[in-house]
Amino acid sequence: MSTQTFKETNEELYNKLMQPDVISGSEILLRSLLLEGVDCVFGYPGGAVLYIYDAMHGNPDFNHLLTRHEQGAIHAADGYARSTGKVGVCIATSGPGATNLVTGIATAYMDSVPLVVITGNVMSTAIGTDAFQEADITGITMPITKHSYLVRDVKDLSKTVHEAFHIASTGRKGPVLIDIPKDVSAHKTQFTYDKKINIRGYNPTVTPNKLQVDRLVKAIEEAKKPVILAGGGVVYAGAHEELLEFVNKTKIPTITTLLGIGGFPSSNDLWLGMPGMHGTYTANKAIQNCDLLIGIGARFDDRVTMKVEGFAPNAKIAHIDVDPAEVGKVVETAIPCVGDVKKVLEMANQKAKAAQSEEWIEELQQMKRDFPLKYKDSDNLKPQFVIEMIHETTNGEAIVTTDVGQHQMWSAQFYRFNHPRSWITSGGLGTMGFGFPAAIGAQKGNPDRLVVSINGDGGMQMCSQELAICAINNIPVKIVVINNQVLGMVRQWQEIIYDHRYSHIDLSGSPDFVKLAEAYGVKGLRATNKEEARQVWQEALDTPGPVLIDFVVEKHENVFPMVTQGSTIDDMLMGDS
């Protein structure tokens, strides 16, 4: 919510917050966050943020959720941001509190998620002396933040917060860190809130170059085998409707990357699935055989391109992206369209005509029929079966978060999304432990939607402490554990690439997840076969409040198709199904 909308919807509170009182830095921080429209902050207190937490005490306007680990707090803020499109906010103390955020900051940076991360620091006078719980967090996070601030004067604080929200949420989005020394949070000054933003050196290119868009439109008219590669940028720009209109007009088959899932409806005939290492047969073949490849808010990640030298060998490449540095970074680009994805597509939609793609579409439709995603079903409980069941019983309408590994790929393959901001996964950094806390954040941001958190038995143990906040706050996330008692993706690589030399992947001895859930006061259920799976999953859906469901699945299942490193994407292992 922008300050303007906040003013309109909460006029009384707005007027109260805007009073020019002489208040502490901590109170300035809270007021500034409220004025930015922040309705939930995830955090964990400690010595250097005591003034800030003191200002929260008895403040009825400020909503803070106490997690059980700073990493849980930042992943929750991330899930909140991805699912709502708003800026996620988290707070941690200096030193270890701040360094515990580092993985979460890197996760958000790699996936362009807007976060404002607030850390306390030691007193200004103690900075640089190796004081208790001191860490140079602005220095540590410089390579993984879009920008960062160390606030040295309380008079700069409200302006800094306003700038941080602006930078986090415009252009290519990303995390911005504000480090506040303890004395700055205590010092008092008169509150002012300047709505104007003027950051010299920060002017994201939003409006596209008309000539380049015209070139794109012309290239489409001439193309016989065009393909769209839609990435997370489509979702983040809120350009899903424009993309659908663009595809309807141009008749171009469309592939969604891991982060682009939901940016284009999977129910559409022209959707080909996900590309890359575990992409669909048709998506990968389409890229390799196309004559025009239009990347839209996608950054040609190495898990998509695989061997870059052999990627899309016959294609002219067009690239629509808000970040000019992405254009030409990985693949040579003939038609660069730098600008906000929504604006570029709006402009293109005014002129776009259909490509000469009838035969190409027919060829790809046949391929989709011949090589669908599939698995060999059995009487044992297969992980893919569980994902398909979750999809069917939720009509594809849930918000699904995942962790990282095999279950993530199966979820991307077998849960079919039709809406943006419903699929939340750590794509770029591949952060285990992300999925469950991200679901908590997504549920806070979307109290009326069903949120399903799908995890492996490895990643579930990386942030399971947050079961406590689900129980205490009755956050009704349905927590799925795809439990194969092994680090499945590592096992798969060791089987296929390392000649069955299984090294340190055995997770037997993990806790009984049902008992673990119950220990925290969360309902726990278990299924070991299909019948039980259907039964307990329905029970979970019918239960108000959080439920953990432990699906004990087939151990030796692999994700297919699979492209091994060093191969081109049409060189796929298809499995024995």
């Binding site: 410089m142 160390l150 050196g201 920060y202 000019p324 540095a325 030409g328």
Partner: protein, 161 residues
């Protein structure tokens, strides 16, 4: 495309940490820094960095685009794409017993360099010029025994306009 030497001028906000932001960007993206100089610019609150780097055109384009993503970076120019003036200063302390001094002074004067200090057994030479000239001066003084060498890195500017 061939890797070429490029001299880049970067106008930045004079904020704490800005040197670290720029230098660490070069480091983590695998861009090479041959020399770097930083100082105040003509405008209050802004500094100018001159970085000499090597790379082909696509690498240079990436460097420029990545630099622009740093919020404190205001302007990036490849000075070496234009006619430019490039200057570097070096101080060179050379072994110099009184008997050999006239010979060294002869070498130094030919280079329009200057003697800025004389010690009992050494002299200090100051040379100003482009990097090639500085390098040549150092090479010529090496046979006498260079005790210490310090160079400023390159300051550069586009000619005319």
């Amino acid at each position: 495309m061939d890797a070429k030497k490029h001299t880049i001028s970067i106008l930045v906000n004079n904020q704490p940490g800005v040197l670290q932001r720029v230098a660490s960007l070069f480091g983590r993206r695998g861009f090479n820094i041959e020399s770097i100089t930083v100082g105040k610019s003509e405008e209050e609150g802004l500094s100018r960095m001159i970085i000499v780097t090597t790379g082909d055109n696509s690498k240079l384009e990436q460097i420029s685009k990545q630099l622009y993503k740093v919020v404190d970076v205001i302007k990036v120019i490849d000075i070496s794409a234009n006619p430019m003036v490039e200057r570097e200063l070096a101080l060179i302390k050379v072994n110099a017993e009184p008997s050999i001094r006239p010979e060294i002074i002869g070498v130094v004067e030919t280079f329009r360099a200057t003697i800025v200090d004389i010690g009992p057994k050494s002299i200090m030479v100051q040379v100003v010029g482009d990097s090639e000239k500085v390098k040549a001066m150092v090479e010529l003084l090496k046979p006498y025994g260079v005790i210490q060498l310090t160079r400023t890195g390159v300051a550069a500017m586009i000619r005319g306009v």
